[in-house]
Point group: C2
Chain length 156, copies 2
DNA sequence: GCTTGATCTAAACCTCACTTGAGCTTTCAT
DNA sequence: ATGAAAGCTCAAGTGAGGTTTAGATCAAGC
């Protein structure tokens, strides 16, 4: 048990269910760090399994990799999250989920008002981006709907 | 009122709040169609305002442009959605939102169980993709977490 | 010592939903 | 008839979160 506590990238991949390429990508993004063998191969600590797991869970909660990186960087010694860290972070994640649920519930209410109306009027329906950050997640630059909502005309 | 019922792309853009470039993009994707003037400029029907509005709303509900295209294609005569169509479609959208809310609520429950535990164990926490399509929305090909959940080892 | 499988790097490619730019043409009000 | 504003096409760029490919090297079992 002098060398066995270091694991190769393939094993880290297998243990976390992430592709090897993704692990290299995370390293390039600074989310994890690797030691190197004499021949240049990566060797990870067992604790990195936990670290990668955290990345996956945080992603599930809707954090971008950059935000995940921020969280990890905020850890005391740049270390893998321990129980106390996790309690703090996961409580924050909970708040995010609450916000997402609230946003969806609001949208559902608007949709309900709109079912059977069929007007699809931008003015009346209110089905346009009421500060709905969650729905905005996605790819690339996006036209911000509702930015100038007052100027959008009624259909007709 | 012989020519005025056709509108130029700029007006369609102004009436819907989307960029002109986005409208051309939608046309290229087959979501809307345009007539052409002798000089090659696009002319749209007034009904296309409603059609574009539908695209925006459906996107808000989390449909991809391809899915929006499928919905539009499913319309009786390939026509712009009318009141009855909208009732049918929006009821379907409502179901999607319900599913998203349910998924988030489930995740929140798992997170609650996990706060204070800190194990981050893939086996025990269950914080991995329980058929959570909503969280999967985003850019590009993505490793499907939990696909082989049974084979993912415990941390340690 | 040799072979096989794992790993290495760098760069290119992918999706989605658009935007931007270059270079030219059409439309419309005056 | 003209000049500004709006429109046209086609190609390339953006950003997130990776994957794929190519060609070379490393580590380990026999």
């Amino acid at each position: 048990m002098h060398r066995t506590d270091l694991i190769a990238i393939g094993e880290l991949a297998a243990r976390t269910g992430v592709a090897v390429s993704a692990i290299r990508f995370y390293e390039a993004k600074g989310l994890i760090e690797a030691l190197r063998t004499g021949g240049g191969q990566r060797r990870f600590l067992r604790a990195d399994i936990r670290r990668v797991s955290f990345i996956l869970i945080a992603q599930q909660m809707g954090l971008s990799l950059e935000e995940v990186g921020d969280e990890l960087a905020r850890l005391p010694a740049g270390r893998t999250p321990n129980g106390a860290d996790w309690t703090r972070i996961s409580t924050g994640l909970r708040a995010r989920i609450d916000a997402q649920i609230a946003a969806l519930t609001r949208t559902r209410g608007l949709l309900d008002q709109c079912i059977g109306c069929g007007c699809l009027s931008l003015k009346k329906c209110g089905l346009y981006n009421r500060g709905d950050k969650a729905a905005q997640r996605g790819a690339g630059p996006r036209y911000v709907i509702g930015d100038r909502a007052g100027e959008i005309a009624e259909i007709g």
